[in-house]
Symmetry: C2
Subunit: 142 residues, 2 copies
DNA sequence: TATTGTTATACTCTATAACTATA
DNA sequence: TATAGTTATAGAGTATAACAATA
């Protein structure tokens, strides 16, 4: 299949192509831990923000409260996080269990190895440049 | 929400962040045409590959035959493409109708404007560099 | 046997809306 | 009144499996 000249030169289309490949690579890299990239991301976000609420987590994951709850349910069901009491009794303070800390360390290793493998076709300078550009793209004001 | 140092520095995570933003931008840019980015992509791929089969289209879209058929059903139902007879009587030869040609031109305009808006935070040289890197990432052998 | 299109079915992810309990 | 969490329900997108027609 050819790609029309218009499409092939568009960054939006290239992002559209690269994303599922990167997602599949991450999925495969995490398969032995039986966790999806989205849930692994949630775990690492909770580790970086101990005591955060489910709503805040949902905001960072770009999902609503209802969807965030399902992710939290799953991670809690596996004993990786706990819903600790919060200063605001309406909310939960999410935090990793010791099992979750160990698991998150395993996730780190798997993702770092995947990072090297998937983006290895780029030089170190290119990876740095790409990282900077992607950060700029999503950090700008909407 | 903070992002753990491990996560923030990973290209995979940055792609994971930028993709939904780019998708949302494309969705909004195409909203007045009442078509989703995936279906618009299918239309442009058929235009670039007149006479292609549904299976070939599905391959380019990374979906299976069943899902490709639903997309083709929708585009045909809107009168944008037709299922023409193919040399292989098992297959259909997909092609744009004249209405589809006009519509695809509108899609071109919308996507080009979106491209300028969304990636406008990058300089022309950066956009060129980013395009080249993304192409290299998905063109490599699996 | 393998492939194209088709159909029916199921699964995953996410969203919406309504409810409760707090603030 | 506004917010956090919860629950039930619905939708979109995709996958699987089986089938008919044809290679």
């Amino acid at each position: 299949m050819k790609v029309g000249g218009d499409l092939a030169g568009q960054l939006g289309y290239q992002v559209q192509l690269v994303h599922p490949m990167a997602h599949e690579a991450a999925r495969a890299a995490l398969e032995h831990l039986d966790i999806t990239p989205a849930r692994a991301t949630a775990l690492l976000l909770i580790r970086a923000n101990p005591g955060c609420s489910q709503s805040a987590l949902g905001g960072a994951l770009n999902v609503n409260r209802s969807s965030a709850m399902k992710i939290v349910d799953l991670l809690e069901g596996r004993g990786l996080i706990r819903r600790a009491p919060s200063a605001d009794p309406r909310a939960h303070a999410l935090e990793l269990t010791s099992k979750g800390e160990q698991f998150a360390a395993d996730v780190d290793v798997a993702l770092e190895e995947n990072e090297r493998r998937f983006f290895g076709v780029l030089s170190a300078a290119e990876r740095k440049s790409l990282l900077e550009m992607l950060q700029r793209l999503h950090q700008r004001a909407p």
